[in-house]
């Protein structure tokens, strides 16, 4: 019998939970397509897109111990870049490639600024950078100012053997599901390598890591750039879904919601970001159909999670899955 360490077992439990979510999503897409459903498929697609943003927050908060209050900067950057590219060349690949490259560069610059400090100062700097970017976008006529960019064309995403239209609710939902699962897979792979172990070591004791020969700034910067790229690539999907982008995507509410999503779902679990996003998006929509004060409900949910579920939803679910995996691996 090959023994596995606790961290890998936790990661396997997360993979299983994500596989369950994917299976449920496929069933949901099939039923939605058969019934000609549009609203809930679009809503679920939005939940997946914001799950990508939450995933990026979890890399920083869960694995690096850094609370970013400005991850919307990269999400909004991805959304605006994607919208601009698509309005010029209606190609998904062009939009994704430009977003990946630019977000890596901007992430590197932002990372150099933010990673000079720790703790609450890091949170404040990330918040400040996102606010500055939001104000610039809000006041730039070329970017549509407060109205944002409208008229992003419908695109066909050709994957060779299969093609998805961004106008097809079920088709685009499946495509976004695929992208988010790939982003999750890449993130999980990276965090399950020695690089991920180093991030955990860094979170536990940043002063001790250099004595093993590692440059902490390089590690923190790498994690920050990866998180920035994941947030931006998720954001790049947004204009394909909605056909427009607005400065609100860069506002604190977007960053704050992503943090709440991760805390409700379970910090440092990755799968929690996905489940949390589905839960929060659904809740906002359902409660929002009754009252415009749905933020109060989200706030109460956040407080409840912090008080009663400090490890989030995954704090209950994942240990049970881990126990199941341990039992199965015993001869």
């Amino acid at each position: 019998m090959r023994m596995i360490d606790a961290l890998t077992r936790s990661m396997r439990a997360s993979h299983l939970l994500v596989a369950l979510l994917v299976a449920a999503s496929l069933v949901f897409a099939a039923i939605g397509a058969a019934m000609g459903e549009t609203f809930y498929l679009r809503l679920a697609t939005e939940a997946l897109i914001f799950a990508g943003l939450a995933l990026s927050v979890d890399i920083l908060l869960g694995y690096n111990g850094l609370l970013s209050l400005g991850q919307a900067l990269y999400f909004g950057l991805g959304a605006y870049l994607s919208a601009l590219v698509l309005m010029w060349v209606p190609s998904f690949w062009a939009a994704f490639a430009v977003t990946a490259v630019v977000s890596a560069v901007v992430g590197l610059i932002g990372g150099f600024i933010a990673n000079r400090v720790r703790g609450v100062y890091f949170a404040l700097i990330t918040f400040g950078m996102a606010q500055v970017a939001a104000k610039v976008v809000y006041n730039t006529r070329a970017l549509g100012a407060s109205d944002g960019l409208i008229g992003v064309p419908v695109i066909d995403i050709n994957l060779g053997i299969i093609s998805f239209s961004s106008a097809s609710p079920a088709g685009f939902f499946l495509f976004v599901l695929g992208v988010i699962v790939i982003l999750y897979g890449v993130t999980a792979y990276l965090l399950d390598t020695p690089f991920g172990r180093l991030l955990i070591a860094l979170r536990a004791n940043e002063r001790r890591v250099p004595f093993l020969g590692y440059r902490t700034m390089t590690l923190r910067l790498s994690a920050y750039v990866i998180a920035a790229m994941i947030a931006a690539l998720s954001g790049a999907l947004y204009p394909m879904l909605r056909g427009f982008v607005s400065p609100e995507l860069l506002f604190f509410s977007t960053s704050g919601n992503a943090v709440i999503t991760v805390i409700v779902g379970g910090v440092g679990t990755l799968a929690g970001a996905l489940y949390g996003s589905v839960l929060l998006t659904l809740l906002k929509s359902v409660v929002g159909s009754y009252t415009e004060h749905h933020v109060i409900v989200i706030g109460l949910l956040f407080m409840g999670a912090v008080i009663f579920l400090p490890r989030g939803l995954m704090g209950i679910v994942r240990p049970a899955v881990e126990r199941m995996l341990t039992r199965r691996s015993k001869p």
């Binding site: 020695p194 093993l212 590692y214 440059r215």
Partner: protein, 235 residues
């Protein structure tokens, strides 16, 4: 190997190390003794790059390392086992150990695996607990893990701060046996220790620090020297 010339270190306005000169040669253990608060740990932290010296020079293999960042000093082959062990919580024993690999640049994964197996042969308790979280180990096992993690990086200079603190006598004996093995393998060791009697058994030379200055030094194999040492620090 290690040469320290007129070293001065401050903690804010406090002048902790006040002009220390010493050398440690290949395969030599230098014991650093003295009462609490005289600057022994500060000396190790200054060599490791944790604290920057305010004056003086630290030469390692004839190259200056003073003013360099701890990660660079570690990559040059200086291993540091601090007093509080510092096992990384959230990581298993094996993951804690593998973090020590970077100190040997260019080592293949097969060599790394072989190095890990050698460590497990030397520390069978760690092999038994390789998948357990490092923080669930006993104090002695954690100290073993901290030592093993540094050893896996094949340092040529080992800085060890109070390795026996709070540990059972059997574990302490094993720890000093490991230091003796490192010495036999050609590693230079700068050992800060309160347990003077046991430390002297592995030391080649010793220094005694008082108020940041060396007040006594000598050959650890010379009984007369050792008596003067015990008298000075009143053990």
């Amino acid at each position: 190997m290690l040469e320290i010339q007129n070293l001065h270190t401050h903690y804010g306005p406090s002048h902790i190390i006040q002009g220390i000169d010493l050398t440690v040669r290949d395969g030599e253990v230098l014991g650093v003794f003295g009462r609490n608060g005289v600057g022994k740990t500060t000396l190790l932290k200054t060599v490791a790059g944790w604290i920057q010296p305010t004056n003086g020079h630290i030469l390692f293999n004839n190259e200056p390392i003073d003013g360099q960042q701890p990660d660079r000093i570690a990559r040059r082959g200086v291993g540091f086992v601090p007093e509080d062990r510092r096992i990384f919580p959230g990581l298993s024993v094996e993951e804690n150990l593998t973090l020590g690999f970077l100190q040997v640049p260019g080592r293949s994964s097969a060599d790394s695996r072989a190095a890990l197996e050698r460590i497990y042969q030397r520390f069978p308790r760690l092999a038994e607990r390789r998948y357990q979280h490092g923080t669930t180990l006993s104090g002695g096992e954690q100290q073993m893990l901290a030592m093993a993690r540094v050893m896996i990086g094949k340092p040529s200079l080992l800085l060890v701060d109070e390795p026996s603190e709070g540990l059972a006598p059997m574990i302490v004996a094993d720890l000093f046996a490991i230091i003796a093995e490192m010495k036999a393998a050609g590693c230079a060791v700068l050992l800060v220790e309160q347990n003077v009697h046991q430390a002297l058994a592995v030391c080649d030379r010793f220094i005694v620090i008082e108020r940041g200055r060396i007040v006594l030094s000598g050959d650890a194999k010379d009984k007369e020297n050792c008596d003067r040492l015990l008298e000075t620090i009143a053990v």
